[in-house]
């Protein structure tokens, strides 16, 4: 398919349709309301479902109800809305249903601001809802990558029977870039007849299906949570995704950065190279599971002296980086947490501060 110029939020909506998801429930919130506006027009064209719920809380349960009867379904929101949805997310995890949640992050805490942010990293990766709750979390760095991740998210959610989150900063939603919608990422929905509450007649079954998260017997709950853990462990085995940049040099500094911020870091790395300062980048594409081994190996290179986490937050991913580096190198933070995106010059300055004169 030929390239089209699209705003990130609209491309995300279109990507879900191209992936075969025709069900969308949402509540408006800046900076991602264009997804709902786009799909309110587009879903009727493709015979899909669009519904604006009365709150993010309600939307998360509309997603749950639809997912539990085996239909592909997704929603989009932004940080404060995701906090409200996190109640439903925990139930969906507990009930083992596939669904896709997109968080186009804005600043916080509280109302924070409406400009780009990456400050929901810990919320997304460390168990968004109550209980032993994990999501597969994908972090796009371009509109094209957001499209591909949305399309990949549905089969992954079905593979694990667990929600998948696309965690994009506000720029991913707001900027316009050329995109294509790769046909090969369109997948048929998996067979859900063995668990979904889609009506016994639908699956020609004499036994009913039950979707629930309540296990009053401690042994049963323990066994249930260990089954969830096995899925998270499998994600750690099979869903590590990252890219590296300039790692074939004798770099002194390793930057770890994701999303739009990682593109700014690449520009900084290119400019520093011209100044004979080699800096490498590990860019996680999934942040749960986190590419611990890749970060450790890159940090362990003998030329590498420091690791720098560059984030649009006060330093959240840095905790995963420190855990990965295991104290072998000092890990520093640079970033902004008010909505301004650090410039390449500011990243360069942060890097140069780490290099002895």
């Amino acid at each position: 398919m030929s390239k089209v110029l699209m705003k990130g939020n609209e491309a995300i909506g279109e990507a879900a349709i191209r992936a075969g998801c025709l069900n969308y429930f949402a509540y408006p919130i800046t900076p991602q309301s264009e997804v709902a506006e786009y799909l309110s027009r587009r879903m009727p064209e493709v015979g899909g479902v669009f519904l604006q719920g009365e709150s993010e809380v309600a939307v998360s349960y509309m997603i749950f109800g639809a997912a539990a009867c085996g239909e592909r379904v997704f929603t989009t929101s932004s940080s404060p809305g995701i906090s409200l949805m996190s109640e439903g997310v925990s139930y969906i995890v507990g009930a083992q249903c596939p669904a896709v949640f997109v968080n186009i992050m804005r600043g916080g805490p509280g109302l924070g601001g409406i400009l780009p942010s990456q400050a929901d990293y810990l919320q997304a990766t460390k168990g968004i809802g109550h209980g032993d709750c994990r999501l597969l979390v994908m972090v796009p760095a371009s509109v094209q990558e957001a499209v591909e991740m949305v399309m990949m998210a549905f089969p992954l959610a079905e593979k694990y029977r667990n929600p998948v989150m696309i965690l994009g900063d506000g720029l991913i939603g707001q900027m316009m870039e050329p995109v294509t919608f790769p046909d090969h990422l369109k997948t048929p929905p998996s067979n859900k007849n063995d668990w979904a509450t889609n009506g016994m007649d639908t699956r020609k079954s004499k036994t009913r299906n039950l979707v629930k998260s309540l296990y009053l017997d401690p042994e049963a709950l323990n066994a249930h949570n260990l089954r969830l853990k096995a899925k998270y462990d499998r994600m750690r085995e099979e869903e590590i995704r990252y890219e590296t940049y300039n790692t074939d040099t004798d770099y002194q500094i390793l930057i770890v950065s994701y999303g739009t911020m990682s593109r700014v870091c690449q520009s900084a790395i290119d400019t520093l190279k011209a100044k004979k300062i080699e800096v490498a980048l590990v860019r996680p594409q999934n942040v749960f599971p986190f590419p611990e081994q890749a970060v450790l190996e890159a940090a362990s290179k003998s030329s590498c002296r420091h690791v720098l986490s560059v984030e649009m937050s006060m330093g959240q991913m840095i905790e995963d980086i420190q855990r990965s580096v295991q104290g072998k190198r000092p890990v520093h933070w640079y970033g902004k947490c008010g909505g301004d995106v650090p410039t390449p010059e500011e990243v360069m300055e942060a890097v140069e501060k780490l290099i002895p004169a």
């Binding site: 479902v49 749950f64 379904v73 139930y91 009930a95 889609n198 009506g199 998260s213 309540l214």
Partner: protein, 250 residues
């Protein structure tokens, strides 16, 4: 001799966990009879609440989902929107529906979602041990209103059926009771009617059922039935408050 009365097919043989004198068992049966009668169990999905009926899926034989506290109408919305061919009902108590879930039920009713809600009103939070609910009667003692519900502080009990009937969207809204045979016969008719409207894809349908909680009211089952009749029925009048036909006539 012909068998004239038996367990509804879609009611399981599992013994219930409900207290002696509780009317949940009766209301479960009325739901099961309606579903059997309409021959829809193969395309029905029930939604269990949080509250005493949290385990009600154990007593039915068709597909079931379990909701979070108060959220069943949002889940039912999700199902009906993506699978309008399924028959969906929520079964909710008064803490679940009238307190934490008030937003969800009002908006689902106002959108005219084509599912059915069975709302069991026994004036208390049963499962958590008898705390005050939005439906608790004035001066009624509960574990969190030990001196009786003080309406000066917490207002009057909410009449959910009237509140929903005030919405302009066409709906079937009825209040019935499960506290004596004459009321139960009418409640059965209303619940069947509610499912019938759903089968016909007509409207949102809602049946409030006045119920008892002898355990948390601190009464014998017989006294609880008398108290409900004497105290609740005058405040929560019975009958159909709204039908889709009545809206058209306006």
């Amino acid at each position: 001799m012909a068998k004239t009365f038996s367990r509804p097919k879609c009611l399981s043989e599992q013994e219930t966990h409900y207290c002696p004198g509780c009317t949940h068992g009766i209301i479960h049966r009325l739901v099961a009879e309606a579903i059997d009668d309409l021959q829809i169990s193969g395309r029905t999905v029930g939604i269990a609440p949080v509250g005493c009926a949290v385990l009600c899926y154990n007593y039915f034989t068709f597909d079931f989902q379990e909701a979070a506290h108060g959220r069943a109408p949002a889940m039912a919305t999700g199902i009906k929107r993506v699978r309008p061919d399924l028959i969906v009902f929520t079964y909710q108590g008064d803490g679940d529906l009238a307190s934490i879930g008030m937003g969800e039920i009002v908006h689902a009713a106002n959108r005219g979602e084509k599912f059915t809600t069975v709302f069991v009103n026994n004036t208390v939070y049963g499962m958590t041990g008898g705390q005050m609910a939005p439906t608790t009667m004035p001066n009624q003692k509960t574990t969190t209103s030990p001196f009786g519900r003080n309406v000066e502080e917490v207002g009057m009990p909410i009449r959910v059926a009237e509140l929903l009937a005030s919405l302009a969207t066409p709906a079937y809204i009825s209040r019935q009771a499960a506290i004596s045979p004459k009321y139960i016969v009418r409640a059965k008719k209303a619940i069947r009617q509610a499912f019938q409207y759903q089968v016909e894809k007509r409207c949102f349908s809602f049946v409030e059922v006045i119920s008892t909680c002898p355990t948390n009211w601190g009464m014998t089952p017989a006294d609880a039935l008398k108290w409900a009749e004497k105290t609740m029925i005058p405040y929560y009048p019975l009958g159909d408050l709204k039908t889709p036909e009545s809206v058209k006539e306006e």
